[in-house]
Symmetry: C2
Amino acid sequence: MRDRLRIVSVCVAILATLLRAPLASAADPLASWNDGAAKKSIVGFVAAATRTGGPGFIPPAERIAVFDNDGTLWAEQPYYFQLAFAFDRIRALAPQNPKWRTTEPYASVLASDIKTALAGGEKAIAEIVMVTHAGMTTDAFAKIVADWIATAKHPRFDRPYTEMVYQPMLELLAYLRANGFKTYIVSGGGIEFIRVFSEKVYGVPPEQVIGSTIDTKFELRDGKPVILREPAIDFIDDKAGKPVAINKFIGRRPVFAFGNSDGDQQMLEWTAATGRAHFMGLVHHTDAEREWAYDHPSAVGQLDTALGEATAKGWTVIDMKKDWKRVFPFEEMPAAK
Amino acid sequence: MRDRLRIVSVCVAILATLLRAPLASAADPLASWNDGAAKKSIVGFVAAATRTGGPGFIPPAERIAVFDNDGTLWAEQPYYFQLAFAFDRIRALAPQNPKWRTTEPYASVLASDIKTALAGGEKAIAEIVMVTHAGMTTDAFAKIVADWIATAKHPRFDRPYTEMVYQPMLELLAYLRANGFKTYIVSGGGIEFIRVFSEKVYGVPPEQVIGSTIDTKFELRDGKPVILREPAIDFIDDKAGKPVAINKFIGRRPVFAFGNSDGDQQMLEWTAATGRAHFMGLVHHTDAEREWAYDHPSAVGQLDTALGEATAKGWTVIDMKKDWKRVFPFEEMPAAK
């Protein structure tokens, strides 16, 4: 018995020593990031957070990293992808709803005149979301989303939406997890929409996805329990809602936050006030060629006051054009200079 | 380089061999459970859930275990401990609220006439909860709870409330985690109340605590972000609310659930419908000597319809008196027969 324990402890000690030394062949975990201030600030923060006893050390349990989704982990142009889903659902449900051909905003959606459809503002969008996202069980909704995401293509790139994700951010998520961070999505998008693909696409399990919610109701149907999605907003996870939802779902303050718009400003402010070492990052869309270039004014992902605060407070702002070697996974990696 | 890898793999192989063999001294992880049908059903379920390729196997990511708190993990008599907290807060705040001496339900609380104080029913309780749980920042509230839980004592046992936990359930939580389960608390109690002590007492981190919530609001106070607790109910995590909250917070169906009252019935029904192997357990309070004996009718933790369903469907019902060797950690372990 004592011998076995001695062998175990010797083996553990040898392993610890060998594994601590960097392997010569280790690839750059942030290979799609150009060397520069942004990459340096990320790597420096993570190195300090994991250096036991150092001034920037963060205990593993407190390594909470939160990411916005639209415009931060995947693209959001020409309009939020969840809206594309809703438009496709309107088209799919139109045969059972003949009145839609003559009623706004449905008529414009069916005529593919998205601009007119959205002219009704939040009220029109809420109506479109409700008829396409409510009135079914959570299981049925998850299947509808799964079927859509497996087949729908982005209008400009003709790629599945799940390929419209940012390769540098996928690397960042994996890099943080490899360093003991728990990665969360905190999105204005629907929680049950994102959960369908978050694990496969981002490596983020459903219980680490926070988003907007509609009312749901537990019910026994012929003795079988179901949860029904009802046509009423429960919570909008945007702007000041983001720290509120983080506090409710996680109950800890994040130490790392990434966003891209004014909708993420309060989440970044909340992260900056953690009391521990912290990192705040913003994706600035500056690349019209490989992606899009926009900040403000913009109907989608407006970045104005958050950019001002980032500049004033020294948050890390990613210049997509300069900081990212490639944007999407389907792009070839540029040859090394 | 190659040598290092060879040493690593040899060490790993030695460790794997040594650790796979059971240590002769390995203690029973459920030492406070008497051998019997209840213990057998738990151990059998966990053994099957972790047997790769077996019919009861559950992939690690799906090993979600949910536990009610009041009456399941800690006691709930003579009234919910969070209510004891509220009563103590009323006493502490009374000097600043002179009118309370002549206004119900405060006057009765101050006179330690809890029965009359609670005679006002849900309305009176809601009022007591709001004046004691709202109107401060989340940080301030957490400190108030931490101070209280460190000093308050249970009226019958004269022990801190954090010692009024069930030793067999602490062992069960640890046993499940050792077998790859993620343990959650799903309580009718306040989420921010439980989170103050859940990690220390149960080993359940704040992000795995789900509970009732009041409205909260993000605000900048002199440029410093705070979250304020407001005097309005957001969500009651009880009865049909439990599966709704599980779906919202976790986004997966549990495979293991433990409760003790009709308030847990829907959570257990939802677990039974997972589609995977599953376990549903109920604590039946049958031990007036070591704890309390009650089921229905009962003002606290009523167990009636859920017990009927458990009997009809073969859920595991713990008979506290027969199944538990000891109830609280401060009891001595009975000598082996």
